[in-house]
Subunit: 192 residues, 2 copies
Amino acid sequence: MQLLKDRIVKDGKVRAGNVLKVDSFLNHQMDIQLFGEIGKEFKRRFAECDVTKILTIEASGIGIACITAQYFDVPVVFAKKNQTKNIAGDVYTGKVESFTHGRTYDIIVAKEFIKPEDRILIIDDFLANGSALLGLSKLVKDAGATLIGAGIVIEKGFQEGGSIVRGQGVRVESLAIIDSMNEDTGIVFRNE
Amino acid sequence: MQLLKDRIVKDGKVRAGNVLKVDSFLNHQMDIQLFGEIGKEFKRRFAECDVTKILTIEASGIGIACITAQYFDVPVVFAKKNQTKNIAGDVYTGKVESFTHGRTYDIIVAKEFIKPEDRILIIDDFLANGSALLGLSKLVKDAGATLIGAGIVIEKGFQEGGSIVRGQGVRVESLAIIDSMNEDTGIVFRNE
């Protein structure tokens, strides 16, 4: 998606440790017009899939998932990272290792919100080590629902997540895949 | 907002300890069509305020804030609850006591995303003890920006948050104010 790649080049900041800061438009401040274009592109790619629900994970996936959901006319469910007293009893659970935060946490979704008849599209902002996506896929599998695929805004193609998840037969559509990035030489996108 | 009140009566569940579960449409599963109507109503109420940016707090405020932002044509910034290695240096900070989670945490916003010339509308799903709203208001004040007001989906009118925040001169627009609720007798809304 050229609009997105151009924006990453313009406003993204490469930092040591393979960190790409896109917090001016994607995951701290959020450019809602850009999100609209992202949502339309996900709809174009998954148009014929009869998606019934979008699944994402808090926090930075939520905004993109909600804007995208308007084009599919379906509800969004977000997996929560910590059990709260407002969620009782019947939940699907998984574990996610966060690249950004450097720790492992539990994720949960109430069972009532993923049903076997659901056709789930996962939406998230980043795909790096694949841990979040694998954790979300497990929730879908545990529920006996159909996983249509995953729509990712930025994939770090030099990390193993994309290969692992695609290797499990999951359709992954990433709007920008970064093959390499460097503070000095900048960002190289995969040609698609 | 009658559509919202009807939905709360239909799908909300009152639990012991003044807990209102609205996780089937508001803060775990999210009804995006309803969010659209909520966004339009916030736009109607704050139409003439020249809002330049919407501020919310992770996680459950993000979806409503993003959908609402489409009607104002402005970006969203969400306050983060924990410092991550992706946010370095210059941040505004506050403290929030969570009613739901029963603990106090730090909130931060990068200084570059709230400027003195900004006219900020705060959007959140709940107003109860007012702690989140006071914390967000402090961030706006620290930035020297103008706080236009706060758009809240559900206010627990029997808790003190609304009075405290309005007592500080902040305009608070709540789409449904609950004056009392009880597992047996149900929910009583304030007449407006």
